[in-house]
Symmetry: C2
Subunit: 458 residues, 2 copies
């Protein structure tokens, strides 16, 4: 039962927006939170920090007691379209399947490779997801596991933002982590994600060392291999650090009640309660509400995968939890590097592409329908009969090809029909993705892959 809820960990997490107690605050000379707009949420954080660090005030809290806990998925980085650890699992299976026929033959591995999340979640105990978690998280040494997570970090990219996953952290929360540490707080991650998974990069990414990462865990097994001690990962005594498990994990791993807690979903509600209700010390709770579909994602009751936010959002006003409205409270969501990357046309997209399929009807044999993308966003190509060109609007995985100018020659009816379908399809395109097969897919607003291209090598 515990083990089955690891699924919950992997596929549930959350976020939200704020009831802030606006208070007149001091004006630091250098703004510690430049990515936050000047709203009540920013002021609430600053006021709290000022209160607990004022040695002469009634609310002074000694540094040793300044424990701040942060959920990770949806609070410090995104959890869409899937929690990043699930993306890791999928990548691992993709990488290993070609070399491991037995693994590749597993029906749940096949479901994962096909992206069939529904099948993985079928059954009361999410047997499929459990199986692929076990296949990728056990039976290897902790060093081997760490190396695999490192490889994933270095080689894979988020499908929408085309950045390494660990580069996709929220800039305002990064500033908050640093601001709290600069004020004598000790910052901890308390996440449903796997502790071993996060500890590989938490120090480099958040400045949070492994010993300050509380997550889902299971026992390892100590043994000698080739005369050297190793720890083998197992699923024994699996502990799920989610929902009620969060305060339990906080007590077990930290042993001290936090005074500040940051989350984004119903899975964080218990640790928010534990932090803020009946705490003899001054305390602070905050929920990040994902309200920004343009820059990130927008969801609460119906998240893309994990992060349901319903009960915690309802409980926020009564408990004085501050709810961040991502869209209005955050001036900037990503770090400057990430934003530059998102605005830059991906190197993968730049080049000349040959249409292979248009709206599931194939292409006319021997016709040559193309799309060329230049690194300044210029889009041009051939319909087999006419040439077209224009400026594509590209940002991250978004692409719009609406305003294209075309020559007006006539040709055979079959090619003219295809031209009409092709140009109509291009006009509907909102997103693209480059598949692992190297093919370019143009996607409409409903998520349908309406044109497929292969790369024309120079």
């Amino acid at each position: 039962m515990r083990v089955s809820s690891l699924v919950v960990v992997a596929l549930l997490a959350s976020l939200s927006a704020a009831t802030a107690k606006a208070q007149p605050g001091s004006s630091p000379h250098v703004d510690p939170l430049p990515s936050w707009n000047e709203t009540a949420r920013k002021q609430a954080v600053i006021d709290f920090v000022n209160r607990v660090t004022d040695r002469d005030g009634d609310d002074y809290v000694p540094p040793a007691q300044r424990i701040a806990v942060f959920d990770n998925d949806g609070t410090l980085w995104p959890e869409a379209p899937l929690p990043f650890q699930v993306e890791f699992v999928f990548e691992e299976l993709k990488r290993r399947a070609p070399q491991e026929p037995k693994l590749a033959a597993d029906p749940m591995v096949q479901a994962a490779l096909a992206g069939d999340v529904k099948k993985l979640l079928a059954g009361k105990h999410y047997d499929g997801l459990m199986r692929i978690l076990a296949l990728t998280h056990t039976g290897i040494t902790t060093d081997e596991f760490n190396a695999r997570v490192e490889t994933w970090r270095e080689t894979t990219r988020h499908p929408r933002f085309q950045k390494a996953y660990t580069d996709l952290t929220y800039q305002p929360m990064q500033e908050l982590l640093k601001y709290l540490r600069d004020n004598g707080f000790e910052t901890f991650i308390v996440s449903g994600g796997g502790a071993d998974f996060m500890r590989v990069w938490s120090e480099a990414v958040y400045g949070i060392p492994p010993q300050n990462v509380v997550g889902s865990t299971a026992l390892t097994k100590f043994e000698f291999r080739d005369g050297k001690p190793v720890l083998i990962k197992t699923m024994d005594q699996a502990f799920v650090d989610d929902k009620d498990g969060k305060p339990v994990g906080i007590h077990q791993f930290i042993g001290r009640r936090p005074i500040a807690c940051f989350g984004n979903s119903d899975g964080d509600q218990a640790m928010l309660e534990y932090t803020t209700i009946g705490n003899p010390l001054p305390s602070f709770g905050m929920l990040v509400h994902h309200t920004d579909a343009e820059r990130e994602y927008a969801y609460d009751a119906h998240p893309p995968a994990s992060g349901t936010l319903v009960t915690a959002l309802a409980a926020a006003p009564a408990n004085g939890w501050n709810v961040v409205d991502m869209k209005t409270d955050w001036k900037q969501i990503w770090g400057t590097d990430t934003m530059e990357a998102a605005n830059k046309v991906s190197d993968l997209l730049v080049g000349n592409w040959l249409a292979e399929d248009i709206e599931n009807r194939g292409v006319v044999d021997r016709a040559h329908t193309t799309l060329e993308i230049a690194d300044d966003g210029t889009a041009s190509g051939n319909t087999s009969v006419n040439r077209y060109s224009g400026k594509a609007k590209i940002s991250g995985d978004k692409i719009e090809l609406g305003r294209l100018v075309m020559t007006r020659r006539a040709g055979p009816q079959s090619l003219m029909d295809q031209e009409t379908r092709f140009m109509a399809a291009l006009a509907k395109v909102t997103r693209y993705r480059i598949g692992d097969d190297g093919l370019l897919y143009l996607i409409d607003a409903e998520g349908n892959e309406i044109v497929r291209f292969s790369k024309i090598e120079d």
Copy 2:
């Protein structure tokens, strides 16, 4: 099986002496380890710290990687005559039994109250000890448990040293903790003892905050009581942080391999191996060997209760582990406060005492055989026939009454016989204890309680 091994935790632990790699070391202006004699063990520690902190050297280790782990029982404080957490359990049962008839009626509680450790350890799974651990460690909130540990700290005294248990830490190890922290190490306790038990006082006693305490744990249960969130202690998913459990616990709670490890028993062998064998970073291992019966205790294969040291001692030379010989390597074992207290005649002992029993033969009715102890150590009294006096040699729980001067009157045969037995008994006395019943017991070298006194109130 796991749960049953909690016993192992409570009743096993260990210590030892050293194979040091003596190296010429630098001479700091202020000696950071003044309680250590100038032997190879002290030099080995200093050399290691110099190596890993030298930015220009090949063995430099960045501060984030300077993880040092310390066993507690037998390494930072004693574990005799019983591990201190077991003493806490006994005290808790003593305190609660009078108010809780059901508890008092429990056969294992009765065994504990009678000090019948054998009965508690009977059976394959040490059922008795498990039972009293559960009775004292579960079903209460973490706050309630913490308060009980605090009370124990404040109100009970070690039977031999007559000091609060948490004042009985080893001065050389306290200096070592500080020395390592001053050199950028982060110090952790990794103990078979209960994490919750140690975290109550670890920061005050060792400067080690709760989040740096790895110990035996079990899950808590999150719930609301009177509208406030609490965590109820249970025995669910009990994890025993001993033997192979120590590296497992280090990985689970710290997530980073230590470079320095300090232990005293076979229970620490696995974490010493994990720290020093095949570690890509420079590493250091040390065992404290209890060789000093005079100032503390002497044991290895046959400890008073916990702390068997056999296999780890045998493995030390091959692994380059430094073995501290407590008797020769440590100039001073206790802090100055503790030593002063040990040399002072206990207030409890000072006063006039009436003999109730002499060598299990009672005392002659209406006879008045006494022992008066003054706070300067003067011992005097009455045998019913004669008066005697002299200077007792008192230190901690040790007392010697060898050189007494007596008047030479004669009296009835029964009283003269008793006088002979009484004075012979006094000559054999090596230790004393004040029982919870307020009675004074004088003890011979074999541990027999040979004279029992009650206090004569002024």
